[in-house]
Symmetry: C2
Subunit: 193 residues, 2 copies
Amino acid sequence: MNFLEERILKDGIVKEGNVLKVDSFLNHQMDVKLLDEIGKEFHRRFADKKVTKVLTIEASGIAIAYTVARCFDVPMVFAKKSKSVNVDGEMYTAEVESFTHKNKNQVIVSKKFLGKDDHVLIVDDFLANGCALQGLVSIAESAGATVEGIGIVIEKGFQIGGRVIRNLGYQLESLAIVDAMDAKTRTVTFREQ
Amino acid sequence: MNFLEERILKDGIVKEGNVLKVDSFLNHQMDVKLLDEIGKEFHRRFADKKVTKVLTIEASGIAIAYTVARCFDVPMVFAKKSKSVNVDGEMYTAEVESFTHKNKNQVIVSKKFLGKDDHVLIVDDFLANGCALQGLVSIAESAGATVEGIGIVIEKGFQIGGRVIRNLGYQLESLAIVDAMDAKTRTVTFREQ
């Protein structure tokens, strides 16, 4: 069991409806030492890749992208959620459906910050059905950039997102893959990696 | 002139309507070395304070809070924007008007992560009319926490936010205070600090 799986068992809370609350250390309150470890671990897993930029989506992805970008010593870019089409300058856009908020957002990245010479590592905190991630991949592909890999902190292995991305041929590294949760017994089952 | 003011003159873009675009290094693409410097500088300015938690608001504030929290070796908490009142558990809330998006958001922080024993350093990337910042102060005060200080990366000195916060007696440290901008001549005038 790695450092993240241990932390999930210690401080994660399993709720009805396959909800895993990690808001005490990952996506509301954030443990900076854990974030530092997460950055180092993704750097180790993608050490053989030539990464020029780390790409994520607001909001909680920003801390993940920062810690990873520090380790690679490259800039990070975060896609913005925008309901408006009134965006300044030339933008890459993707439509992203939010499972949690039951709405659609347009996700935008300025063309100034992503181009065909970029080698992109995409990161995010959670992967479930994969809509946000597919939007980020679509934006990177629109830019003509090379997607070197995808780093996810917690993947819900029982939802479709991870399988779709792996089937598409991307190297997807998830620090913890949750294959099952039980709110009654408060157990979390991780996939052996 | 400090490192941030130099960077603003080098890479910031002045637009009509008193808009200062810093999206190439601070709030869309992010320069991680600059963020590291920002963290160290806030740590230096609030070195005599007992800080137990760094508080900010999503989205771009998250990177600022992370770099500052690293330097103080404390957790960070980011307030979430939520249009819904259907929030899980007990929350501190504040209503925040967005100048940019011309709408109102409810801003929430879980009561689990802020309490009367906390000594809070509030940080954000921008301060203009101060609505977001006033919401964060209100949340910290609701929690009974002590606000040890407020750190802002770029303050628009010609808008009211900074004056209101200083009049209220808080120690507000802004790394750059822009007193005037001119889109025609592309000049930025910083306040002497």
